[in-house]
Amino acid sequence: MATTNESTSHVEEERLQHSHAGRYFWVWAALIALTALTYWLSRFHFPGGWAVVVALTIASGKSALVALFFMHLWDQRGANRLVFITSLVFVALLIGLTVADSATRFPLANPPEALGGWPRAGAPGRPPEARRATPGSSYRRNAFQAFCIRYVWSAVNSSMQTSST
């Protein structure tokens, strides 16, 4: 076991000692090209959430180039890769679960003016997001739900106060 470890690490060192100047240049050229591509694509208005998907896919490709070639994960086996991949797993968990939480909440649990939230009381200027997303009906429905929730909430509050005294 020790001997295989020694030999693989020697191979790894040799790979790292090898000249990478040409490779660095092509990675740099690819990164510039992808930056230009994502800038150009951002001028188009993709339907739905596709702009986010396109921009983040290109960003993932660029970061993969940086991590693999500038940061040498391509040449380094084992522990360093494992550490980085583990951090990516936690990135996915942290972002995935928090966004999934907001996306699946009971509508009025979201903050005022937000998607699925109720309109802020006495807010000047802009109509809330919920109203702008689907004009008319959903705004009135949200306002009605807000009224119901407030009524129930105040009823619960007052009953708790009377029970405590």
């Binding site: 660095y24 240049f25 510039i32 930056t35 230009a36 500038f70 003016e113 997001e129």
Partner: protein, 210 residues
């Protein structure tokens, strides 16, 4: 392999093992850095989901070309740092120092653009939280600028630290402290700088493009 014993700490068996340990330690640190920024990106994800139209509008009001130019600037700086390591691997410390010096210049350009942008935001009232008095109405716009200043501010701080690290390691390389067998600080400074670049690669689309 000829190990230069001057750099070998007594608790390591060989220079090779010491280099491996240093590299692994750096990757562990970089993983914590990734998660530090991920917390901010998660907050961005939640509020972007909740205030999608306002976030798009606020994002469109930023100067996209500055973000694009800054991306090119940082990517180029990463390339010159990688070339600096390439020279260090071949024991050419002076060239490493020159390339690290060249890498610091784009970072100054980057911070210069950030200064111009921040100045513009201060004048327009695009400030975080309760200080927001900008043109786009609604709660979402002030949250966008809170996250904007948190993310770009923390990243800018990393650029500043990275510049100092590159300058110090570059100066040591100029003095001939490293050779073909021992150049771990050059490699680790490079890793830090590439991570700063990698984070910007995600900041650019999130803040400027979508």
């Amino acid at each position: 392999m000829q190990a230069s014993t001057a750099h070998l700490a007594h608790h390591f068996e060989s220079l090779e093992k010491q280099t491996h340990a240093a590299r692994l330690g750096m990757w562990l640190f970089l993983a914590t850095e990734v998660l530090l920024f991920t917390a901010l990106f998660a907050a961005y994800g939640v509020y972007r989901f909740l205030y999608a139209p306002t976030f798009s509008e606020a994002s469109r009001s930023l100067a996209t070309w500055i973000g694009a130019v800054n991306t090119v600037v940082l990517v180029t700086s990463s390339f010159t740092v990688a070339m600096g390591l390439h020279q260090a691997v071949h024991g050419r410390g002076r060239r490493t120092a020159v390339l690290f010096g060249i890498s610091v210049l784009p970072a100054l350009v980057f911070l210069g653009f950030k200064y111009v942008e921040y100045g513009h935001h201060f004048h327009a009232g695009d400030l975080p939280g309760k200080y927001y008095t900008g043109a786009i109405p609604g709660v979402g716009a002030s949250i966008f600028y809170t996250l904007y200043f948190l993310i770009t501010g923390l990243h800018g701080l990393h650029v500043l630290i990275g510049m100092i690290v590159l300058a110090v390691v570059g100066a040591l390389a100029w003095k001939g402290r490293f050779d073909a067998t021992y150049h771990t600080p050059v490699e680790l400074a490079g890793l830090y700088w590439h991570l700063v670049d990698l984070i910007w690669i995600f900041v650019f689309p999130l803040i400027y493009l979508i």
